[in-house]
Structures are given as structure tokens and as C-alpha cells.
Amino acid sequence: MKLTIRFHPLLFQASLAAGGVALMAFNYLHFAIPHRKGPITLDDISWGIMSPSQVALYAPMVLVMLAFTLLNLLLTVYFLHRLVKWLREPGAYRAFRSNAQGNQNAGIFAIVGSLSMTVNVFWAPFGFFIPQMSRHMQAMMLPSLVIFGLLLTALIFLEVTFGRTWFAPGIDRTKFNFVWLLDAFAFGLVALTGSGIVAMASSHLIVDIAARATLFTLGVGSIILLYKVGYLTFNHVKAGQLPAHPVMPAFFLIVPMACLFGLAAYRIENYLAPAAGGSGLASTLITASYVLAVVWGLGAIYVIRDYFRSYFVKSPFAPPQWGFV
């Protein structure tokens, strides 16, 4: 099917969300099924010795993961093709960048976020279906480090470039909404990629470089996240009203972000643990992040309950709706 909708960086949210579902399914299988060292692969699952209830539990999960892995990879290729065409349109990127009112240009960060997600999909769910690839994971660590470096560089470049537009004179930041958090989301996804290298690579040099860069990413991302969440929450409370219906789902962006920052910090803490004397901080970090995700998710459902009751089902498409996934 050909997409007629004009290209917008927020289109990348579709591939990002598909990658998220695939990765969640992988995460479940990886931790639920005993397997050899390294990421779980299809070869590790002995269907023949499983009970019917176990097969009923795991088989649909594998199918869901396959569908969303393919969706992530196909959409990424298609959107990259559209992105290149968009960048070639004279003035298109510049016009988009300068449109900072209501943080409308924050969508640019969906591109970096989605590409980071695709790297993780490639390592985990894609590697699940191609066991040979998973067995030769170490050969992919150097290219992965290079891609991680490119994503981080692009992210810093975009943060500086677009950050200037948000704080330019004449921009009314009180009209900003939770879509503004997409850059912090991208920092979380890039940190997840970096911490994945830290967790998987056996080369000390690669691990060391990835760990330092991930720590930097986590640090910058956390500062941005805390500042923006504080600012937006204050503004919403001060205004005493919810944002317009189409941007309401953006409240849910905090949920995946909490998990991403928590998981990346958990992996980095594990790397630093020998020096820290194994303080148990890692477990606290990830538990706290999951608790925050659940509490925020439930709180967001409560705050926008009317949106679900009377608006969502019949509403037209709005990009922030990907935030639900």
C-alpha cells in the first residue's frame, strides 16, 4: 500500500512502536525460557518437550514478535526512503525546523529514536529468528558501536539545533505539551543501544567506549527529562486544564522512557558494579523505573479517562496516539 500522507518525521513513530512491541515480546521469551548463554534464539526453544499450555503461552508470542519485527524493518526502510526525498525538497527541513510554536518541530527526534530501536530489534528479535547471526554477535559489536556513535552525534546535533528554536524570542513555551519529551525519549533509546553494547561485547575497549558514551547519554537525557517533565507538569497544573484532545496521549511517553532509562542505568551499573562493590543499586534503579512506569501509566489513564470513554474510539488519527503503544 502506498502512503499518500505527506512525509513528517513523526511517521517514524509507527516503526518505533512496532519495534517496541517486538522487543517486549523478545524480552518476555528471553527471561521466561531457559536457554544458552547470550540472547535467546528460536533454536533454544524445545517445542517438542513443552506442555500444551506452554506452547499456547509462547507460540503466539513468537508470532507477534515475527510480525512486529518485520513491520519495524519494512517501515524503517520505507520511511528512510521518504526521509531522503524530504531532505532533498528545497526548504522543507528548514521550514520544519523553524516551526517551534507548540513544540511542533520536536517530532524530528522520532527519527533518531526509531533508528535506535531498529538497532535493538536487529540484535534481539531479528537475531532470534536468525540464530547464526545471534551466535556471531561479537562480530557485530564494532559496527554497532559505530552506529551508536552516529546516532548519538546526530542526537546531540539535533538537540543543539532544535533546542535553540525552543528558546528563541517570541516562542510561547507555556503552550508546549508532552510531545516536547520526544528528545528525552530519543536519549533513552540511544542509551539503550549503548548499554546493549556494554552488556554484550566481550572486547574491553568497545565496552569501555560504549559505557562512557552511554553514561554521557544517560546524564544529558536525565537532565533534559527532569527539566521538561517539571516544566510541563508545572505549566499544566498552573493552567488548570488538560491539553487539546489530539496531544493527550503524549502523557504516556513517560512510561517507556522510565523503562528505557532504568534498563540502561541497570546495565551500566552492572558494568560499574565491581568498582562500586555491588551495592544493589542496579536492582533498585530498575525496580524504581518500572514502578514509576506503572504509577505514571495508571495516573495518566485516570487523568485522561474521559478521552478514552468518549473520544478515542471515534477520533481521527493523531500522531501522539502512538504514545499508547
Binding site: 509507527a14 512502536a17 512491541v21 518476555y28 527471561f31 512486529f68 502512538w322
Partner: protein, 46 residues
């Protein structure tokens, strides 16, 4: 990682349920997106 995650059955359940919830929400949002795309296509043809 195993011990950490799966000593909490609640986390495993949450993970399992969230995959299907995510897939359902994805289907809903994607269908809205395709409808919006169809509207754009019809407007372009008209």
C-alpha cells in the same frame, strides 16, 4: 538477570500482557492512520 526479573511473577505477567495490549493498540492506531491516509488519497484524486 533471570533471578532479578522472574522472582517477580508480577513483572513477567505485566510483560506478557503488555505485549498483547501493545499489539492491540498498535492495530487500532495503525487503522486510524490508514483511514487518514485514505482520506488524503481521496482528496488528492478529487
Amino acid at each position: 538477570m533471570y533471578g532479578f526479573f522472574y522472582q517477580y511473577t508480577a513483572l513477567a505477567t505485566l510483560n506478557y500482557v503488555s505485549v498483547y495490549l501493545g499489539a492491540i493498540m498498535y492495530g487500532l492506531v495503525m487503522s486510524k492512520f490508514l483511514v487518514a491516509n485514505q482520506v488524503v488519497k481521496e482528496v488528492a484524486v478529487a
